[in-house]
């Protein structure tokens, strides 16, 4: 946990940490913090600017924007963190497999990684959605697949480096089972760089989720994603700018916060590289 301490000491890291924690609190405690139901429609007061009753104003259906932002945080953070963790696990398993498998399987895994990477991220996601259809579950599957190769390559590199370390061989000689070696010895040592990569990737995942929801291909109403909120505001841009500004602000804040946090985390784990700003 002294990584957290050094993040706090880093001025930009501190800002990032504060934002991340604040957004997490919003996401977790949304039902308690939200003054209104996010899907409570109230057409007469549509497009109202920020006021004492509606802190951030209302959208095109009169729904309270502040509540929608809070619930949107649930989607943005919840979905993105879920995706990132999933991609990390799948990537790590594939990567370790590639490091220990016979050359043919290793080649096959690497080729799959390369081929997935030969697509621009958004385009690959769109291709998958075209086939699987919109919706949160499909969104999670699609975006996870897109991010697996990165984790896979890092995991493989780490596993390869560790493979030749004598303590692993000693363990095997002493009769430790492969699963024990995997979970008890291998994973803890690989996890560090993977966690750093994960934190650096969260902003991209948030962006991709928001983007797909913006296009109507991700989270469906009545669930409030910041991306779909942005779209709602966009098509009504000439009626009122507030919905756009609010959701844009929320998204920017989230991506900024996680980027600063991720960079500070990387600097904490690897001081030599972190200094190169």
């Amino acid at each position: 946990m002294d990584e957290l301490v050094s993040i706090w000491a880093n001025p930009t890291g501190r800002v990032g940490l504060i934002i991340v924690v604040t957004l997490s609190i919003c996401a977790i405690f949304a039902p308690i913090l939200a003054p209104y139901q996010p899907s409570a429609i109230n057409v007469p007061i549509r497009f109202s600017p920020p006021s004492t009753t509606h802190w951030l104003g209302t959208d095109q259906l009169g729904r309270d924007l502040f509540s929608r932002v809070l619930y949107g945080a649930r989607i943005a953070l919840g979905v993105s963190v879920a995706i990132t963790i999933l991609a990390l696990i799948v990537g790590a398993l594939l990567g370790i497999a590639a490091a220990y498998a016979p050359p043919l399987i290793e080649r096959a895994i690497l080729i799959v990684f390369d081929l997935v990477s030969s697509y621009p991220t958004v385009i690959l996601a769109l291709a998958f959605v075209a086939v699987l259809g919109p919706g949160v579950t499909n969104l999670i599957v699609v975006v996870t697949v897109v991010f697996v190769p990165q984790f896979g390559r890092v995991a493989r590199a780490q596993a390869l480096a560790l493979r030749h370390r004598s303590f692993l061989e000693a363990e095997v000689i002493l009769g430790a089972s492969p699963t024990r070696v995997l979970f008890h010895y291998l994973l803890p040592n690989i996890l560090g760089p993977l966690i750093v990569l994960a934190s650096m990737n969260v902003p991209s995942v948030i962006t991709l989720e928001a983007g797909l929801s913006f296009l109507g291909l991700g989270v469906r109403p009545p669930l409030a994603s910041w991306g779909s909120m942005l779209y709602d505001g966009f098509i009504n841009l000439n009626q009122a700018p507030w919905p756009v500004v609010i959701s844009a602000g929320a998204l920017s804040l989230a991506t900024l916060g996680f980027t600063l946090f991720g960079e500070a985390l990387q600097a904490a784990f690897d001081p030599q590289r972190g200094g190169n700003r």
């Binding site: 697509y119 291709a127 086939v131 699987l132 942005l230 920017s252 980027t259």
Partner: protein, 320 residues
């Protein structure tokens, strides 16, 4: 150099074939009858049969991929589900607009990013350096479609400086340029910051090298040392980023073209998705991947041409 180029070409073809295979075989992920699912509400028995035929859904996997590639090489990228006409024309017509956007964005990103990075490296800790570092993070992290909408809000809707919709087709060069301004800014925003940072760190690395000391030891003026000796080496790693950049830019064009109402590959794929016009989606994605892989190969070649050590190392090791 020629040998290296040939090797790159072979690589390019291999990757293209593999990526196309993934694309063509995506439909295997669909549970049940792929053709009727893809057509959705338009799934009449005739339409389903026609789609199955034109996409070769009954064929074994490798035959489907080979068939698609063969057809593509002959200019046939599929049949439009709605109009029944060949897709190739639609897709090809969408390319120039997207390329203009991508090209413009690269120019802006390099034109602003490189000088900022050079200035930041020349005086580390100075005003340019610190403000660039600060802006870079903000620029890089914010999603491009967010920036696009905000720009649209401020400059088009509120201030009326730039047109709100369209690409200005058929209106002459300057009008088209006018329509390009906001989209290019939106797309290049993140890249300016990223390139500035890369140039800065790359240049700082180079400036610490012995051969820079040699140049200074022979009394070469500071400007010459910076641009002729240092930047020439420092810029090389930055060039390899450009390959990835193009792919990223095309991806962003999906949003930016939709937001600004511009024609282009991104808008085409998006609208085809909505219309459940799968052959158009497939063709559009294929063209995007082709452009992406091609650009990366070109960038690799440029990289090897600029740095003779890469070629020499490649052939000495005998591997890739």
């Amino acid at each position: 150099m020629v040998r290296y180029a040939l090797w790159q070409l072979a690589s390019l073809v291999a990757v293209l074939v593999g990526a196309t295979a993934i694309l063509v075989l995506l439909t295997n992920l669909i549970p049940g009858d792929a053709a009727s699912v893809l057509l959705g509400s338009r799934a009449t028995p005739d339409a389903v049969a026609a789609l199955r035929q034109s996409m070769g859904l009954d064929l074994p996997a490798y035959e489907r991929v080979a068939r698609f590639l063969w057809n593509a090489a002959h200019g046939d990228l599929g049949t439009d589900v709605i109009s029944g006409r060949p897709v190739t024309g639609t897709v090809l017509r969408a390319i120039p607009s997207t390329l203009m956007l991508a090209f413009g964005a690269i120019l802006v990103a390099i034109g602003l990013g490189v000088p900022l990075g050079v200035q930041a490296a020349a005086k580390p800790g100075g005003l340019v350096d610190r403000s660039t570092a600060f802006l870079a993070v903000g620029l890089i992290s914010t999603p491009s479609f967010v920036i696009a909408i905000l720009l649209l809000l401020v400059f088009s809707v509120q201030l009326g400086w730039t047109p709100v919709l369209g690409g200005g087709e058929g209106e002459g060069f300057w009008s088209q340029l006018h329509h390009l301004v906001l989209p290019v800014i939106a797309v290049s925003f993140g890249w300016i910051g990223y390139i500035a940072r890369q140039v800065r760190s790359s240049l700082l690395d180079v400036l610490g090298q012995s051969y820079i000391k040699t140049a200074r030891a022979y009394g070469l003026p500071d400007k010459t040392v910076l641009y002729k000796y240092a930047l020439k080496v420092a810029i090389i790693p930055v060039i390899s980023i450009l390959g990835v950049g193009v792919g990223d830019l095309i991806g962003k064009s999906v949003f930016v073209e939709t937001i600004f109402g511009r024609p282009g590959l991104g808008a085409l794929i998006n609208s085809a998705l909505r219309d459940r016009n799968y052959p158009v989606v497939q063709a559009g994605v294929f063209v995007v991947v082709f452009l992406y892989v091609f650009t990366n190969a070109m960038v690799d070649l440029l990289y090897a041409w600029l740095d003779p050590r890469i070629r020499e190392r490649f052939f000495r090791r005998g591997d890739h």
